[in-house]
Every structure is written in structure tokens, then in C-alpha cells.
Subunit: 458 residues, 2 copies
């Protein structure tokens, strides 16, 4: 945006929301950074709306001025999904973080998009219900819906795709629609809820989310299960899935990642390839699931199967898991991370992980592995020196080989982080002619290309 | 279509697929009927393709001639979803009913759309896997995907939305796309799979379906549980859901429906409002689920809790349940049915069902109730004399009141049957401004309006 255009835009937004629109340099810069390696892209103006009506007015003003609208939640996305690559107005949902209602009997709730998953679970504490989707970071619910996030409990509870019942969305025109109601299922026309979930704000701005909740399990137990061999850990995860044991979490951390977690979170576990499990259910069901899993682990060469039934032990374990990004970065102070996110059919997981680990080792790069292996999904954090473009190029080449491998194995370039600006070429490789269909849908709902432009596809 | 146009269309299709394109009156008429009360609408030509390439060529020919393309599976849909209301070419998938591959380790398979759910399960018999979605009728998988079908096991295994991993689709242009791969989850762009699931063929023709499968449970038990009061049955179902008992099926049949089922299927159960349950899991888990459910049922006044653990007893029970449409019709020989399909949040189900039953009783119409009550979804079969327009009008008025009630209770007009031609007004009532978004999406993918036109919205 030109220096002459920005004051006019700011004035237009100030007329709508007063001082909650700002072009202060510090605020713009804070909204132009991301958690990963991408270069910064600050917006021209940052707006902090408090109501859907304000969001609608902001979008209408942007449409009139033909400037981009970039929704912003907790800023934890990993592919530059919320960077203002073409400037414009960043709509920060920090002031729209209320729980609007909780229907405990129906196990659902309606929230504003700026609430984070931990804030939501704190608000649910006395209801006997919880919201299980846990991507590690304390992401906002709106951001999680927009990237179709999942995380550690997706193997049992599904992803945001499965746990969003309905949305309120502001369209590019400024019009407000609702995509569904609170019934558990519906065949009433096109599934607009699922169209906006995962659209990364490119089709509209989410202003309310109706979520499914789940009963807090009667009993929970966790287990830490180290292996001498990488293959033993992977095969155990696969066998647990194929045995239909309804584990709530099956997480793999390779020895490199465990070293990082031990250092960062003082976890004090054996520095081996390790599976973390969690089981939810009645006391009897949990005991049976754990016993069956332990048996499978033993058959695959597990070195131990340390149970954690006390809440504080489990909490320590999963907090450590949630912080693998920071623990990984801690392995190389000052580094930035290229974070990969491939997901493959479970029968291909052993091949995919083993080849990936060999590929990493051959590059000499530090790249710990952490995976939601019950879903066939895993990440590597390729640590690069931000001052060394050659390293970034090597990391990107490694990432490209991983995606190529995943696609050959009938998998996807992204299980849960989305495309953003970081995986646009991979989307074309993966989806082929279907990208043109996505682009046609985008044009039909956003003909002026103002909704988070420059993401997903050109 | 004019009498002069039809021979040209037939000739064009015969050039593509020979005698497998026909305008024989008997074939056209058979494809112009539906299971419910709707008037017949035969197509001009019926085509029986054998490959995706043939489907693509047929669609391209229809696009060139500007005539409708209406996909047809098993013909079991209930809202006229596959009627050729504007004539054109009915594409019957009877000859595309193969299982293309089964990946037992990944618990998925790829099928052609014409295969029925029972054919698929017969093919899976030796794999240890099954496909759980059971809408009652032996519907085709393509049709089930297109109407976002669900049925008795959705409470445990989800709907077609949750169990379709990916699709191959022929677009209005004749172009073929794939909407995804075999990874269990993905954040790679817009969720095209979910866009085509439930689109009733109005956005494209499904030519392949990749499905999730599930392990055949180690143990299965069923139970029949009659109640003196309607409220006791409904409250039991609600309490089971809220207790997080992972029942595989929770079906309600009211006393009228039980009378029909006893007569049609010689089931020989007490003629009371009755819940049918099924439990899946390990032997210990199934026993625990059944015991907890029995306790809840007793607290709510159940008259009995008859377990059925033998496969043949369960098979008899669920075959009887699957045939409720025909059993219901048997209550009034010669009648046709207006079939309702509302779905409400579970906390509203008792009010919705009780008011509905009173409303039916006040009309004097015969309308048995059968419900997937674990999902908040139930049907009434309003039996009407096809020769009495006044009765049809009364039945439609009753249906309208049911939908109004469901919408006031934050529910939907259709849990699983779709909109077709029968619920277009209800879709507008339910979705408001979102219908315009659906129409915009439709125009973007089918600008010539040739894909199953006249369905969902005008």
C-alpha cells in the first residue's frame, strides 16, 4: 500500500472502531511475524474488532478500498498462513474471545474465534466436558478451524473438520451467514461448514464457531514407551491402530527430539525413540487398552512401558510434548525451523519415517522428528541458521524430498498445518487439476481477491 | 426434451457406449420413479457406463447438447434426488460396481459408485473389516455419498461425511479430478471431498469413492428394550449418549412402527415403544456397555432388556429394522409415504418427539416413528392414499410443522436423506442467506446448470 493510501484506510477503519484500528509500527510488526522461517510481512493496519457487526463493517470497508483482509488469531500458525503478504488490514480477534454459550446436555458450545483452546478448556472445567483438539500450541479456535488443525488427540476424537458443528462467517461482500445449526448431522445442501474449515480465511472471515465437546473421561492413563530401534516404535504404533485399540493419543518422538524435550522441559526420560500413549474410558476399559498396548509394545522390542495415572505426571508429560517446537529450537540456539507435516496411510508410515530419518542423517542437518503416528502424520523441525541462505535451501530441498516421498506413498504434504505461503507448490503437486476447482470456488465467493490473498494458490 | 431432440441425443450417446444407451420406455420409466410419494419424472435417455472415461464422455456430450445429467445408483433415495425433473440423461451406475482395491492394513478401500453397501460388505467378508454406514436400504455407495447418508451406526462410526476419504469426480466440463488421497487427514486446501459429499450430483458426478473401513468388532451384542411410556424410551437414549457409552446403534421404534415390523418381519416383540441397541468392542467392553445401558433403561422404566448375542438373532433384528419403510407401508396397503427426517440437538429430542407424536395423533394420519435417536434424528412415515390429494396436503402440512419445530429447536430439516426436490423450501427456511452461497458455488462449477438441475435450489 502506498504511504498516501494507508492514512485513508486507517481513517476509514477509525470511523468504524476508533482507536482499535492502528498503524503503529510495533503492532504492525508483531502481526507480520510467524513462528517459522518465513520472512516478515506486516499489514498496513491492524484492527481489533469486538463484534461480528464490526468485522462485517471492516470487511465492507476493505472491499470498497480493494485492500486485503487477513484474519489473525494467536499467531501460532506455521506456514505464514496469517502473514499480510499483500499488506492490507490484519483483523486480530484478541478482543473476540468469549464463550457465547455452552450446551452441556448436547455436548456443544459456541465461541468467538479469538478464544484459545486452553482458555476454552479452562472455561469448561466445571461442565464435565472438554475440547480435545490439541495442536501443541495454544492456538485460537478460529485459527484452528481455518487451518483444519488436529494434533495429538485426533486419532481418537478427529480433527477440526469433525469437531466444528457450524460457523458464522463474514463474506467478502460484508454479508454475514451461518453455515449450519446444532444438530449432530445434516444433509441440508452443500457442506459449507467443511468448506470454510481449512480455507485459511481465503473464502471469508470466521466470526463464531460452534464446537462439539466430549465428556471428560472417567479414567485416563498415559504411558511412556522407549525403543532401541526406530522401526520397533513405528511398528508398535501401527499395530495398536490395526488392533482397533481406541487410544486417545499415540505420539512418537525420535531420540533427537527426546534429547531436546529432556533439556527444555526437564522430562528425564530415556534418550531413545519413544512412544507416548494416552488411554481414555471407564477404569476397566482403560486398563484393558493399556494392557493390550503393552503386550504389542513388548512384542516389538519396547525397553519399558512406564504408566502415568496421576494427573500431575500426565500433565508434565503432555506439556513437554506440547512444547516440542521450542524444545526442538533449543537444540540449536538462534535457529529458525522449517517444519514439515506430511501424512501417509499407516501401512506406508514405517517406510516413510525410516527413509526420512536416513535422509535427514545424510544431510547433516539437525531435524528432530515428532509424530501423531496413529494418524500417519509426523513433523520434522529442520533447524536452520537464519543468516545462512544455503542452509535454508538445503532444508527446503529436504522438505521437498519428504513431500515427494509422501505423495508417492499416497499421502499429503500437510496433515494439519495448512498450505499458507509455504506449501503452494506442493498443493499443485498433490491436487493437480483440483486446484483449478479450488480457484474457481475462490473467485465465486471473493471475486475481488481481498480475503487473505496470496495464500493456497496464486 | 422435444421428440426431435431425443433421437439426436441417443445417437450421440450410442456413438460413445453403443447399446448401453437406451430410450426404451420401460427403462426410462424405471428410472423416473422413486421410493416415496413424488410424481414420476423419467429421463430422455438412460446410459449405463462402465468406466470413468465413458462417464466423462457422456457428460461432455450432455454439456455440448445442453441437456441434464442425472446420476442414478440403487434408486432408493427418498426425496426425488435422482428424478430427471428436466429430462436429459440418467447415468445409471449399475455396471460400475467393482471394488477396485482394499487396503486392509490401512482400513480403506476404493470402489466404483454403483456398488451397494451390502455388496461391499460381502466383498469385505474375509478381510476382518466392514463398512458400517447402514441407511436401511441397500443403497449404492455413490448415492450414499451424494446424499451424505448415515443411518443406524452413525452414532458410533459417523456419517458418509466422516467415512469418505476421497472421491474421483467428473465435472460439468467432462474433466476428471481427484479430491484427495488416502492419508487419514489433510489440510491441503479446500475440502473438496466434503463439498461433493452431500451435493446430490449437482456439482459433478462421482465415479470413484475411497472409503474408510472399520475392524469387525471382537464382540457384538444387541438388546431389545420396550417401554410403557414414549418419554421413558427417549430419556433412556439421551442418558446413554450423555453417559458417553459408545453404543454402536441406538434405534427407537414407536408402538405403531413395532406393530408394522411384527407384521412384516414376524419379529414377535412386545408392541410397545422400543429401543434397539447394539454394542461393539472387546468382550469385556461390550459387557460393560450393555450393563450400564441396562441400568439406565431400568431407571427410566424399561419393561425388559432382552439381549441378543447370537449372530442370527441380531441379524433378524437388524433386518427387521432395515425394512421399516416396507413394514411401515404394510400398515396401510396401497399407501405411499411422505418420509420426514428432522434431526435436533439431543437435549431437544424429547420435546421434539413428544410434540410430533401428539401432532400425528391429532391429524388422524397413520405415521409410524423410527429414529436414530442417538444422533437426535428420527423419521416418520406419513402414509397417504396416492389417489387422495387432500391427504397428501395434510401429510405435507404435518411435515411442514415438524420441520418448523425442528428449526425452532436448532435442528435441521434433513439428517440424512438430503433435499432433492422434496425439501427445497425447507432448505431456504433453514439456511437463509447461505443458500445464495450454495447457488454461487453451483454456478462456478456448473455454469450451464446441467448437473442434476432442479434439485436443492431453483
Amino acid at each position: 500500500m502506498t504511504q498516501t493510501g494507508r492514512p485513508a484506510l486507517l481513517a476509514a477503519l477509525r470511523a468504524l472502531i476508533g482507536e482499535r484500528a492502528t498503524d503503529a509500527a510495533a503492532v504492525r510488526e508483531a502481526h507480520g511475524r510467524s513462528e517459522a522461517y518465513h520472512a516478515p510481512h506486516p499489514p498496513d493496519v491492524v484492527a481489533f474488532p469486538e463484534t461480528t457487526a464490526e468485522v462485517a463493517a471492516i470487511v465492507a470497508a476493505c472491499a470498497a478500498a480493494r485492500v486485503p483482509v487477513v484474519p489473525f488469531g494467536a499467531g501460532t500458525s506455521l506456514e505464514g498462513n496469517a502473514l499480510s503478504v499483500h499488506g492490507g488490514v490484519c483483523v486480530d480477534f484478541a478482543r473476540m474471545n468469549c464463550v457465547l454459550d455452552v450446551n452441556a446436555e448436547d455436548m456443544d458450545c459456541r465461541v468467538q474465534p479469538g478464544i484459545t483452546r486452553k482458555q476454552l478448556n479452562a472455561r469448561l472445567r466445571d461442565t464435565g466436558l472438554f475440547f480435545p483438539i490439541d495442536p501443541g500450541a495454544d492456538a485460537s479456535i478460529g485459527g484452528m478451524a481455518s487451518t483444519r488443525a488436529s494434533g495429538t488427540m485426533a486419532v481418537r476424537y478427529g480433527t477440526m473438520r469433525d469437531n466444528v458443528l457450524a460457523l458464522e462467517v463474514v463474506l467478502a461482500s460484508g454479508e454475514v451467514i451461518r453455515t449450519g445449526r446444532r444438530a449432530r448431522k445434516s444433509s441440508a445442501g452443500y457442506d459449507l461448514t467443511r468448506l470454510f474449515v481449512g480455507a485459511e480465511g481465503t473464502l471469508g472471515v470466521i466470526t463464531e464457531v460452534t464446537l462439539r465437546l466430549h465428556p471428560v473421561p472417567e479414567a485416563i492413563s498415559a504411558a511412556v514407551c522407549p525403543f532401541a530401534s526406530f522401526g520397533g516404535a513405528v511398528d508398535t504404533a501401527i499395530a495398536v491402530i490395526q488392533s482397533a485399540i481406541p487410544a486417545a493419543r499415540i505420539e512418537l518422538l525420535d531420540d533427537v527430539m527426546i534429547r531436546g524435550v529432556n533439556a527444555y522441559a526437564k522430562l528425564g526420560v530415556m534418550e531413545r525413540h519413544t512412544l507416548f500413549f494416552e488411554f481414555h474410558g471407564t477404569p476397566a476399559a482403560v486398563a484393558e487398552q493399556a494392557a493390550r498396548t503393552q503386550e504389542i509394545a513388548r512384542e516389538n522390542g519396547a525397553l519399558a512401558f512406564q504408566s502415568a495415572t496421576k494427573a500431575e505426571d500426565r500433565s508434565r508429560l503432555w506439556n513437554a510434548r506440547d512444547n516440542t517446537l521450542y524444545a526442538g529450537l533449543g537444540l540449536r540456539p538462534g535457529a529458525r525451523a522449517v517444519i514439515t507435516d506430511v501424512c501417509v496411510p499407516i501401512s506406508r508410515l514405517a517406510a516413510c519415517l525410516t527413509e526420512t530419518r536416513q535422509d535427514i542423517d545424510a544431510t547433516g542437518l539437525i531435524a528432530p522428528i515428532v509424530g501423531h503416528v496413529g494418524d500417519g502424520n509426523f513433523h520434522t523441525l529442520i533447524l536452520v541458521d537464519p543468516a545462512a541462505p544455503e542452509e535454508l535451501a538445503r532444508a527446503k530441498a529436504l522438505h521437498g524430498r519428504m513431500v515427494g516421498r509422501a505423495l508417492r506413498l499416497d499421502g499429503t504434504c500437510t496433515g494439519e498445518h495448512g498450505i499458507g505461503i509455504g506449501k503452494m507448490a506442493f498443493l499443485r503437486d498433490e491436487m493437480g487439476g483440483a486446484v483449478a476447482v479450488m480457484a474457481a470456488l475462490k473467485r465465486s465467493l471473493d471475486p475481488g481477491n481481498i480475503m487473505n490473498p496470496g495464500k493456497l494458490f496464486a
